[in-house]
């Protein structure tokens, strides 16, 4: 059934279709509508789940950890400061190997107080052991919630899908809402290998001394490495059943491209329009969309950029004291490879400043005009640079 819905509600439909069994969340703009709709589904008897109201995001994640430890499929959603407050529990969810799924609506951190989009909130959680997927459309949001459970439950790591505040969260567009029967075929019920069960007691969360702790970390990294292929396979199976897939990265018009733009989330969508226009004008330009950020798809990125003469990474985020986070990751992925083109790191659109086709065209033109980046960070559309 195709419906015109907002990105936040695409998340709600995804969680409902995935048959989330426990939902614990705390309201925060611009995410609130996700859990509002889930609570409406529950109130109407359309969602067979335990809905837990909590007093903070830290507690929301703690409740999901408890639920997932007991073998339930657990879901939550948050944004910006809410995600930051969860930080401690994010490590716990990953360390305990719990396949919790969370939607994070990207929101800039205050102060200055902001409710608008920026990726720094979720990217700052990159070392917590969560898988991360950045979505471009409301359809991709809904589909990624379902895929996220499939992947998380195989590798036993929590998974975060990420969408831009307002640009997706509050934007209405047509979305195909899949049949429950098909989702059930794709995503079987979660069968936890180990769970809290009074009839079969285990100890959880015990002290782990130096002789064993490192091995637990090694296994998390191994699970992350395994997740690359698991995610690829989950996306392939998704295509077989639903006719849609997204890849870990997506190559858009990369054939003979001399300049390759690298983007994530909704900037990708607008960049497609710009690449088409520039191609018509004779520019050899293409676009690489990075959808999966953790684990980082190093092999796919190297392969996609193998023919690029110059790479322009567009970051709507910043790691203060270094630069754009996607740019760092792309540089790191290419360094030990055989092809190392100049990488231009652009920062744009922080705090929800609109990124227009003209913004992206400016980035492409800058890259064509310069042989090397000249600066480690190239700020765009900033008033006092």
């Amino acid at each position: 059934m195709e419906k015109v819905i907002m990105g936040n509600h695409a998340v709600s439909y995804g969680a409902k279709l995935a048959r989330a069994q426990v939902i614990a969340a705390y309201p925060i703009t611009p995410q609130t509508q996700i859990v509002e709709m889930l609570s409406e589904f529950w109130a109407e008897g359309l969602l067979d789940a335990k809905f837990i109201k909590v007093e903070s995001e830290h507690s929301a994640m703690a409740a999901c950890i408890g639920a997932s430890s007991a073998g339930a499929r657990a879901f939550t959603a948050t944004s910006g400061h809410g995600l930051a407050l969860m930080h401690e529990m994010l490590h716990w969810a990953a360390g305990a190997r719990l396949p919790i799924v969370m939607a994070n609506v990207n929101r800039a951190m205050g102060p200055g107080w902001s409710i608008w989009t920026e990726q720094t909130d979720s990217l700052a959680q990159r070392d917590t052991g969560w898988l991360q997927f950045y979505c471009e459309s409301n359809q991709e949001v809904l589909d990624s919630v379902i895929q996220a459970f499939k992947i998380a439950e195989q590798v036993l790591l929590p998974t975060m899908l990420v969408l831009d505040a307002f640009v997706l969260s509050h934007t209405q567009e047509p979305v195909d809402i899949p049949d429950q029967e098909l989702v059930d075929r794709y995503l079987p019920p979660y069968d936890a290998r180990y769970k809290l069960d009074p009839g079969d007691p285990h100890a959880f969360g015990a002290m782990v001394a130096p002789p064993h702790y490192m091995e637990l970390r090694y296994k998390i990294q191994k699970a992350m490495e395994e997740a690359v292929e698991v995610a690829r396979q989950a996306d392939g199976e998704f295509r077989e059943i639903f006719g849609r897939s997204y890849g870990l990265v997506e190559k858009y018009r990369l054939e003979d491209a001399e300049v390759v733009l690298v983007a994530s989330a909704t900037i990708t969508s607008t960049a497609r329009v710009v690449v088409d226009e520039l191609r018509e004008e004779g520019y050899k330009v293409g676009l690489l969309k990075v959808r999966m950020f953790r684990p980082f798809p190093t092999k796919d990125v190297r392969e996609a950029l193998a023919g690029a003469r110059k790479v322009a990474v567009i970051d709507r985020n910043i790691s203060f004291g270094h630069g754009g986070i996607f740019a760092e990751e792309i540089k790191s992925a290419l360094y030990n490879g055989s092809h190392r083109p100049p990488i231009f790191g652009f920062i744009i659109g922080l705090g929800g400043r609109d990124v227009t086709p003209a913004s992206i065209r400016g980035i492409a033109e800058y890259t064509f005009e310069h042989d090397t980046p000249e600066m480690e960070i190239i700020w765009r559309e900033v008033k006092n640079s």
Partner: protein, 183 residues
Amino acid sequence: MIEIRIHGRGGQGAVIASKVLAVAVFKEGKYVQSFPAFGVERRGAPVMAFTRIDDQPIRIRCQIYEPDHVVVLDPTLLEAVDVTAGLKEGGWILINSEQDPATFDLPARYRVATIDAQSIAIKYKLGPKSAPIVNTAILGAFAKATGIVGLEALAEAVRESVPLKPEENVAATREAYNSVVAS
């Protein structure tokens, strides 16, 4: 692609209007996108909402700066904001007003239409009398003036999208469709 900007005041239903319009056009088989100005809404303050319409999937994801048409839910906004900013030549400016379009001092390169959506909304008891919700009425007028969407698809979209009084809202849409005044 057709791009439409709706100007209103917080509480008048500009955001819902942009969605209802999108749903109606979607029912006629087109691709749509609608969204509020990415901002904070306060009751009574000027707000904007946008709708894009195309025959192909819509990929552009930024606000609308050069609309094909604009809708103005409150005539006092004409003094507060530049509703013609970026408006393309020949574009419609549809104003909620009981006055004749000729009374508005707007550049001749635009087409102007008016509808007394305020009175229609009060007649059908849509919202409080002091602050009636005029969005469904003005969409009827917009459909007639621009021909962008048919009345039946719009009526269906109104019926399924408004939270309260669906039939009264549909009646307001129809009445406005039949009584819009164009320059």
